[in-house]
Each structure stands twice: as structure tokens, then as C-alpha cells.
């Protein structure tokens, strides 16, 4: 393992769902890398394949879904095709995941300490219950839960949504993972709590040096958090690059549309821009660029599949008619 090896490198990942209505290409030729201490923002609308990408990385795609191609290199080890036991050992230990809805992620009939301790003991049975309990308590304290000793013995329904998400984050961080996949962890929370959680996760990642993939539909979250960003549309990454570069100089019309539809103080009183139309059904994707039908710049060239181009170092783009520099 070389020093510069990224923590996670996803190469041409394809995850398809084989449904009765046809093959649904939820993730189609997706590539990205994240290194230790870095934050990657994965942005897209609902149904663009962000979450499935996250689950594909840890091998938790449920049937009828299946990874049909590509590689998921975690510290150089390909996880596609890795055995279930190997994946189990990585999950929750080296790669942790935080889910979207904190009201649903904790088991309602098990106490918080049970749910925390089992995460430690599943990966290191030698720790022993009392040591595990201590680690669990420290983890709760680290994510800002007051009087963690008492809270350990509580059930999930005795916590508020924000507190539950903190518990989930504490569980994800218990074994000091190298990679954390956070799937819209602040979407279901109040705005004030959102800010706190964002801050906590960022701080904890910096402390432990973990790589972080932050899945979201909210560009404003990404702006302050991520180092690099990948914009997904209909199962593909249409644009990628460093966060400042992409947000300041979007080249794909879809990215530009997303940025344009974020309310801003400078444009008060002006009608909010929106992207016309809606996300196409993944079952009946037209050939060529999937964004074609909603794009003002589309022409006959877009009937063909746009290839991945590298307009400048560190950038990636799938578009025949990139926006030059305009905003």
C-alpha cells in the first residue's frame, strides 16, 4: 500500500436492479476516489442513484439489485466479489454508514448500549463487555450527548430525532473507521440541528482522519463541507471536480440548473429558477444524454452517449455542450 493510495477508489461501478418491468440501471459507470481526511460530496436529485452507490460500496445492495460491473477498491482491495464474511468484517469496522432517517435506524426494542456494544463485539470479541461499555459511553460523549452514562441505558424512543442521529453517528464512529458513508444524515432534521450535526461529523472526521462520502441533494451543505463533489443524474456522474471549481464554474447544464435553483440573497424578489421537467424513470431512459429532454442546449448531438471528458485537471464532465464560463 503506497502512501498516496486513496482510501476508496470506485471504478466504473454499475449496479443494476433486475425488476419485472425491466433492468433498472441505478448506478451506471460511476467512478470517484476519496482519500483519508477528504470529504466527497455526492449530489443529485431523488432517484439519481446516490444511495445505491453508497450501499454498493459496502456490499449491501438488496436483491433484485446486483453489482454487475466495475471495481470498488478499498485501500487497494477490490470489494466487488469479496466474500460475505470479508465484507461483514469491514462493515461497521473499517467502513461505516450513517443513514438518512434517524427515527428508523435504531432498533426500537433494544437499548442503546446493546446496539453500541454489539458493534464493538462483532469486530473484536476480545474487548469484553465492560471495556466495550466504556468505549460506547465515550463515543456518546464525543458526539455531544449529555450524561452519556444514563443515556446508554435508554431506548431509542426516549431520544429526539437529532439525538438519535447523534447516537447513529456515535455507532458509526465506534470502531474508528477509515471511511464513512453518510447518506443524507441531516435531511430529516431541523435546520438548527442540521448545522450541529454537520459540524460534529466534520470535526470527528478531521480528528480520526477518516475519509467521508456525504450523500445529499442539498448543494448548500456541500459548499461548506466537501473538498470534491460529484453530481449524479440518472445513475451517472455528469460532473465532478473540486467543490469551489464546480460550484463557481459549473459546466454541465444540470449542475448549473441545480445551482441556479438554490435561493440566494442576491436575487431576492426575482423568480427562482428551476429545471424544467422531472427526473426520467430509470426504466425508460432514452438513449444518449439522460438530461437531454430537460436541457436548453440539447441538440442532435445529444442523441449519442456523451463520453467522459476532462476539461481541466481534476474535473470530469459528460456533456457535448458545456457551459463555457457563464453563470
Amino acid at each position: 500500500m503506497t502512501a498516496n493510495q486513496p482510501t476508496l477508489s470506485v471504478e466504473s461501478l454499475r449496479t443494476h436492479f433486475f425488476t419485472r418491468a425491466g433492468v433498472l440501471k441505478a448506478v451506471d459507470d460511476v467512478s470517484f476516489t476519496v482519500s483519508a481526511g477528504q470529504v466527497l460530496g455526492l449530489v443529485g436529485e431523488s432517484g439519481s442513484g446516490k444511495t445505491v452507490t453508497g450501499f454498493s460500496v459496502i456490499g449491501l445492495v438488496d436483491p433484485p439489485g446486483r453489482i454487475v460491473g466495475g471495481r470498488v477498491l478499498f485501500k487497494g482491495e477490490d470489494l466487488v466479489g469479496a466474500g460475505e464474511e470479508r465484507l461483514r468484517r469491514l462493515r461497521g469496522d473499517r467502513v461505516a454508514m450513517i443513514f438518512q432517517d434517524p427515527m428508523m435506524t435504531l432498533n426500537p426494542v433494544l437499548r442503546v448500549d446493546t446496539q453500541m456494544i454489539e458493534t464493538i463485539l462483532a469486530h473484536d470479541p476480545a474487548v469484553g463487555r465492560s471495556a466495550a461499555m466504556e468505549r460506547a459511553r465515550d463515543a456518546l460523549g464525543r458526539v455531544g450527548i449529555p450524561s452519556p452514562d444514563e443515556r446508554l441505558r435508554a431506548y431509542p424512543h426516549q431520544f429526539s430525532g437529532g439525538m438519535r442521529q447523534r447516537v447513529a453517528i456515535a455507532i458509526a464512529l465506534l470502531n474508528r473507521p477509515d471511511l464513512i458513508i453518510a447518506d443524507e444524515p441531516t435531511t430529516a432534521l431541523d435546520v438548527t440541528i442540521q448545522g450541529q450535526i454537520l459540524y460534529e461529523v466534520q470535526k470527528l472526521c478531521r480528528e480520526t482522519g477518516a475519509a467521508l462520502i456525504w450523500i445529499t441533494h442539498d448543494l448548500s451543505v456541500i459548499a461548506g463541507l466537501a473538498d470534491t463533489v460529484c453530481v449524479m443524474y440518472a445513475g451517472r456522474i455528469v460532473e465532478s471536480g473540486t467543490v469551489d471549481d464546480v460550484l463557481d464554474r459549473p459546466q454541465h447544464p444540470y449542475t448549473a440548473g441545480l445551482i441556479g435553483s438554490v435561493p440566494s440573497r442576491n436575487r431576492r424578489g426575482v423568480k427562482l429558477a428551476q429545471i424544467p421537467g422531472m427526473t426520467p424513470s430509470l426504466l425508460s431512459l432514452p438513449p444518449g444524454c439522460a438530461f437531454r429532454a430537460r436541457c436548453a442546449r440539447a441538440d442532435d448531438a445529444c442523441l449519442a452517449e456523451p463520453p467522459l471528458v476532462i476539461p481541466s485537471p481534476g474535473r470530469g464532465l459528460r456533456c457535448f455542450h458545456p457551459q463555457a464560463d457563464a453563470r
Binding site: 443513514f99 426494542v109 437499548r111 454489539e118 462483532a122
Partner: protein
């Protein structure tokens, strides 16, 4: 907690009272037991004497009042037919029925929950589909027919197991139990299986439906994302969540099995309460019928209470006490 228990017990007294009135009036409406009990050649004076001896010459409200007063001291009346306290008749037969019902319920749970879990985790597999097909059979085949088939195959053809009676029993705390002796165990297997069949099917369906619902929940996926072994995900995270509905239904089922194991008891000549109640209804032996139903109602109440207590153990969101009425 204590307040809750007391309130529940008071409620049960009310239920018992209503129940006794209904049964009293019901049996009275069916007919006059004296006409069945007495020699057809008896003359009018003899009939009147018999009626007076049984207290049936009194108006119904007085008969009932007398019953309530006596019941308060624990006397539920004497059987018209056997001329012994009705409660003794019932208590004598009760251990056999209880033992059979509990064994059958255990069969149902210990086999049904794992099979249901398996079918729920692999709904599309051959084994999952076979389990469900089997449970449909268990629902639809009539108990008496299955009982006869069990006897035919295991007692008559193969000769492995006896078909009638309780076998050797052992007395524990004044109660005779079959399950403590090898011979008794051999005797209880067939009737318990027969009685368990319906429950087994029910438990399989409940656990399968519960499992299919629970495995889709985020917390199961999160448990897997934590790297837990499949065994722990299923037997802790899924199992604890599916047990809540199963316990409810099983509580009710246990009650009705105790009360109405008649068919199975008849086929396997199991000396339980079922036979007693059928005979008593035929002979209009009111004290036994009333006492029997009182005992059954009381048992239902106890079982329901146990189910409610089990809830609070299984589901931390359930708190007994205060609000509930």
C-alpha cells in the same frame, strides 16, 4: 404497576359477574334438568321433591342470588348429576387439559417461529414456499380428521406411539402430570401435535409476515451495516420485533385451546375438561357448566394479563400503569 394490577383484577370481577348471569339465564332457557335427570316413571310428587332438593323450585333471581353468595365463599355449587362440588370435578380434570394445551402451544412456538422466520427471510426459495403451503394445509385440514390420521399412521400402522389416555403420571405439588414420565410423554405427543397443528400454522404465518416487514426496516439494514453476523441480526434484531404480535395471538389461542380442546380430547380419549363440559351441557348440569365457564373466563383474564405484562418486557415503548383503561 400495583395500581394497574389491582384495576385489572377488579375489571375481571365485573367480567365474571356478567358472564355468570349470561350462562345462568342461558342454561335456564334451554330446559329443565330435572326432566333429564329423573326416572321417567317418577310421579309428580317425586319430581317436585327432586326439584326442591336441587333448589330449582326457587325463582331464577333467587337461585342466582344464592349462587353469587355461595360463589363469594368459593362454593360454585354441586353437580346435579354427580352430586359432588362442581369445582372439584373441574379441578380434577384441569391439569390434563392444561398440560395438553401448554405442550401444544410450545410445539406451535418452538416449531412455528423458526419456520416462519425461514420462510420470511427466503420468501422466493423452495423451502419458503413449501413451509407456506404446509401452513395452508394446517389451517384447512379439520382437526378430527388429522387426529384420526395421526392415530392411523403412528399408532396403528407404525405402532410407535399409543393412541389413547395419559399414560403414567407423576404427582408434583398435588397435580398429576404426564410430561414427567417417559410413558406419559409418549402419550402426549400425538394429541399435542394434533392440537398444535392450527397454532403452528398461525405462528408460521405471523412470523413470516412479521419477518418480511421487519427485514425491510432501516434498523435491520443498519444492523447489517454495523457488521453484525447474520445470526445476530435475525435472532436479536428481527426476532424481538416479530414476537410482539405473536405473543398477543398466542395468549388468546392458549385460552381457547384450554377451553375448547374438546375434539382432540375426545379422539385421543384424553381425560381433560373438554369431555366434562360436553357431557354437562347434554345433561343440563348447570353448576358444572357455570363453574366451568367461570374457570375458563378467569383463565382468559389471567392469560391476557400475562400477555400485557409480556408486552412491557418485549416492547419498551409500552408502559403499563396510568392511561390505559
Amino acid at each position: 404497576m400495583l395500581v394497574y394490577l389491582i384495576r385489572r383484577l377488579l375489571q375481571s370481577v365485573a367480567v365474571l359477574l356478567v358472564m355468570s348471569v349470561l350462562v345462568f339465564v342461558g342454561v335456564f332457557a334451554i330446559g329443565d334438568p330435572v326432566e333429564i335427570l329423573i326416572n321417567p316413571q317418577a310421579d309428580q310428587a317425586e319430581i317436585a321433591r327432586a326439584r326442591a332438593a336441587l333448589g330449582l323450585d326457587q325463582p331464577l333471581w333467587r337461585q342466582y342470588a344464592l349462587f353469587v353468595v355461595n360463589a363469594a365463599t368459593g362454593d360454585l355449587g354441586r353437580s346435579f348429576v354427580h352430586n359432588v362440588p362442581a369445582i372439584d370435578l373441574i379441578l380434577q380434570r384441569m391439569p390434563a387439559t392444561l398440560e395438553l394445551a401448554v405442550t401444544a402451544t410450545l410445539f406451535g412456538v418452538l416449531l412455528g417461529v423458526p419456520l416462519g422466520l425461514l420462510a420470511g427471510l427466503r420468501p422466493q426459495s423452495r423451502i419458503g414456499k413449501s413451509i407456506m403451503a404446509g401452513s395452508i394445509l394446517g389451517f384447512s385440514l379439520p382437526t378430527f380428521w388429522v387426529g384420526l390420521m395421526l392415530i392411523m399412521v403412528f399408532a396403528v400402522q407404525l405402532g410407535w406411539l399409543p393412541s389413547t389416555g395419559r399414560g403414567e403420571t407423576r404427582r408434583v405439588l398435588g397435580i398429576d402430570l404426564s410430561i414427567l414420565t417417559l410413558d406419559g410423554l409418549r402419550h402426549i405427543v400425538l394429541p399435542a401435535l394434533n392440537l398444535a397443528l392450527f397454532k403452528l400454522s398461525l405462528v408460521i404465518r405471523l412470523s413470516r409476515a412479521g419477518t418480511r416487514e421487519v427485514v425491510l426496516q432501516d434498523y435491520v439494514k443498519f444492523a447489517r451495516a454495523k457488521g453484525l453476523a447474520q445470526r445476530r441480526v435475525v435472532w436479536v434484531h428481527v426476532f424481538k420485533n416479530i414476537m410482539i404480535p405473536i405473543v398477543t395471538v398466542l395468549g388468546l389461542e392458549l385460552g381457547s385451546t384450554i377451553a375448547f380442546a374438546v375434539v382432540t380430547e375426545t379422539i385421543f380419549a384424553w381425560p381433560g375438561m373438554g369431555k366434562l363440559i360436553i357431557d354437562s351441557i347434554n345433561l343440563l348440569d348447570r353448576p358444572v357448566v357455570v363453574a366451568y365457564l367461570m374457570v375458563v373466563v378467569f383463565m382468559f383474564i389471567l392469560i391476557n394479563l400475562a400477555v400485557d405484562l409480556a408486552y412491557s418486557v418485549l416492547d419498551p415503548r409500552v408502559r403499563l400503569s396510568e392511561v390505559k383503561g
